[in-house]
């Protein structure tokens, strides 16, 4: 029996393009009537493709879309009671504001007087009374945006789809429209499905957020859930600013990461490989020796309402937001309330570490060069004639101001006895037999924990060096 509150349900939606690119992979979602749902993720994560499949512009390769319990998977867009607000508005340039808004109603053969009444009312809703006769080109970006919303809303759709509708507006206007959209949603009771790559926008507006990456759903939950209890490193990293560490459970409610042993509230079996997330605002600076770990202040940036302080603890870096300043070079202690340490089972056991970019735009880790460069791993970036590197938007990437978050899978790392062969040395601190292979946790010289899968048996406390092939790594650019 279908839940009567559910307005739309996506079941196992997969989209593979003709060129073989898998844009969406096994997407499942239930949306309740009147909910404000946001698809959040970086560009290319499949959020817009999913929206287009709901609208009917793209057909899923597999899976089913149910509206009020009935399949609409094969219906063309013009037979779905769903309307879209497009990214660049897509207003008809050869029509007046009135004709644009009336377009949908005229398709439905609505009587003229009803059309004119409804257009008037929806213009009032978007605060543009009296704009009926204006041409589209005479409107500002913000006004066009409102007309686009009015054109969709006037049809009283069961679901309103919004594809990054505020992306083209400036910051002030965007903030204003966020509140207005939220207001409209509350007033009209229509289900909104909203696509954005802006995490703040998602947190502000949504009842429910779907975080996506590389075509897969990462986490579905309320903004609070997603912010406070991210399920994996990707979500933690994407939502808000985070310190993310690889680590291991060292006992009951005890976890080792960032070169120290912290008390935490999540209970996993001793020896489990974990990812620990600590929000910058949750780290407390103490006198040296009184905290769980100590470190040297590396940089202090004044951000208006708080300072952003980076502390180096060994080779681990902790970013802290606090209202108290500190001096570069000071020794400080750091403490985190157990409640504020988010321990996640490193479910897929993906290892992550930061690599630096040297002045030659090459990547470095633990004093070793990685055989790749900035331009090779950041999509759309290129080296200009003056020797600087810019990203796809033309913004300059300075080697000192960026670093690279590197992801690598446990079975892509190889252990060797030759201590100088790998990128980093470490000691085997845990091993588990997994049926057809062993899973090892290597505690490295930089106080990090790596998970390595190997079919051969090594011994506890063996000293090994880790071989990590560059072609198996995945990279994300981070600004310092």
């Amino acid at each position: 029996m279908e839940n009567r509150d559910t307005i739309i349900e996506l079941k196992g939606i997969t989209k593979i393009y003709e060129d073989g690119f898998k844009a969406v992979d096994d997407f499942n979602l239930e949306v309740k009537k009147g909910e404000f749902v946001t698809f959040l993720g970086p560009s290319g994560c499949g959020k817009t493709t999913t929206l287009r499949m709901i609208a009917g512009f793209d057909l899923p390769t597999e899976g089913d879309i149910l509206l009020n319990g009935k399949s609409i998977t094969g219906l063309p867009p013009y037979e779905r009671p769903i309307n879209t607000v497009f990214q660049r508005y897509a207003l008809f340039p050869h029509m007046s504001v009135y004709d644009n808004i009336a377009f949908g109603l005229r398709q439905k053969k609505t009587p003229k007087d009803v059309i004119s009444r409804k257009v008037g009312r929806v213009l009032e809703l978007v605060d543009l009374e009296g704009f009926e006769k204006r041409g589209i080109q005479t409107l500002s970006g913000g006004q066009q945006q409102r007309i686009a919303i009015a054109r969709a809303l006037v049809n009283e759709p069961q679901i309103l789809l919004l594809d990054e509708p505020l992306g083209a507006l400036d910051l002030k206007m965007r903030k204003e429209m966020q509140l207005e959209l939220k207001d409209m949603h509350d007033k009209l009771g229509i289900t909104f499905i909203y696509v954005t790559h802006d995490q703040e926008e998602a947190l502000t507006m949504s009842d429910k957020i779907v975080v996506m990456n590389e075509g897969r759903t990462q986490q579905i939950g309320t903004p609070e859930d997603i912010y406070n209890e991210p399920v994996n490193a990707f979500v933690a990293d994407f939502i808000g600013e985070s310190n993310i560490f690889n680590g291991m459970m060292t006992g009951h409610l005890k976890a080792r990461f960032c070169g120290g042993e912290f008390a935490c509230v999540d209970d996993y079996e001793e020896g489990t490989h974990i990812t620990a997330v600590v929000r910058p605002e949750d780290v407390e600076i103490t006198p040296p020796g009184e905290g769980t770990i100590t470190g040297i202040v590396d940089s202090v940036i004044f951000k208006g309402i708080h300072y952003e302080i980076t502390v180096l603890s060994g080779k681990n870096e902790m970013v802290i937001q606090t209202v108290h300043s500190a001096k570069v070079g000071d020794r400080v202690g750091m403490r985190v309330d157990p409640e504020n340490i988010h321990i996640m089972l490193a479910e897929d056991h993906t290892n992550l570490f930061y690599a630096d970019v040297n002045s030659d735009f090459r990547l470095e880790y633990n004093g070793h060069r990685l055989d790749t460069s900035l331009t090779a791993i950041i999509r759309g970036s290129r080296r200009r004639e003056d020797g600087t590197v810019v990203d796809a938007n033309g913004e300059v990437l300075e080697p000192g101001r960026v670093r690279i978050l590197v992801f690598i899978q446990p079975d892509d790392i190889e252990m060797t006895d030759d201590q100088d062969a790998g990128l980093i040395r470490g000691t085997i601190s845990n091993l588990i037999y997994k049926g057809d292979h062993y899973s090892y946790i290597i505690h490295t010289e930089l106080e990090q924990d790596f998970v390595v899968d190997d079919e051969y048996l090594w011994n506890m406390d063996d000293r090994v060096s880790l071989l990590m092939p560059v072609e198996k790594m995945k990279f994300t650019l981070k600004h310092k």
Binding site: A55, G56, F57, P76, P77, Y78, I82, N83, T84, F86, Q87, R88, A90, L91, F92, P93, H94, M95, F103, G104, Q107, K108, G135, Q137, R151, A152, N155
Partner: protein, 260 residues
Amino acid sequence: MRFSRKSLGIPYAVFLVIFVAAPLLFLFYYAFTDGQGQFTMYNLTHFFTDPNTLGTLYYSFTIAIVTTAVCLLLAYPAAYFLATSRLQTKSVILMLFIMPMWINFSLRITALKEILNVLEGNLAMHPFLNAVIGMTYDFMPFMILPIYTTISRLDEALREAAMDLGADPVQTFLRVTLPLSVPGILSGVSMVFLPAMTNYVVLDMLYNSTYIMGSLIGSYFAAYNWHGGSMISLILLAMICLFTLLTGNAEEEGARGALL
């Protein structure tokens, strides 16, 4: 003398005077004078009273309109499907349409003549049909290109928006794509219609007995009647100006979207 950027325009100004302004003045002079150099309106009145010139004007008009219509009917669907398809080979197909323009014109027409010869036997039997076929063949790329460009520049989101608002593909075409491709249609029409009025070389090469405005002017000058020939040229020029003015206006409006 100091060099100023304006001096860069001098060569073209000279060209303009010698090859545009002066001939125009001569055209005016001859059109309104007789053999003795006396001012006369005879050439003008003769044009509008001589059944021969009026008949030719009417016939040229008919050929030009039919040619333009045939070009439009053939070019629009081709341009539309090409512009909206996701074919990888799109640019190759477009090139096939345009390629005839790169082949020497007389070679093309001679080839066309041979083909028509085989199909029809005696070419003189179908002068009107052959005139239209020849000109359509020659001017087609000028119709396809502007329409293709206009349609492919249309944001695909506009078509999607129409469908999203409940318009099926036919309604989407009629209410969005077609009105928005009017500027392309107009520039295609003016690029085909005007030469189709006057280009008689195509017809000559097809051994066509058809007489159009271009051939009429040619015959006047061949008979050393510069005065009559100039007047016909002047009248054609006036008509072309008028036509360009009209479509120019409409094109602007088309861009703003008041048309249709």
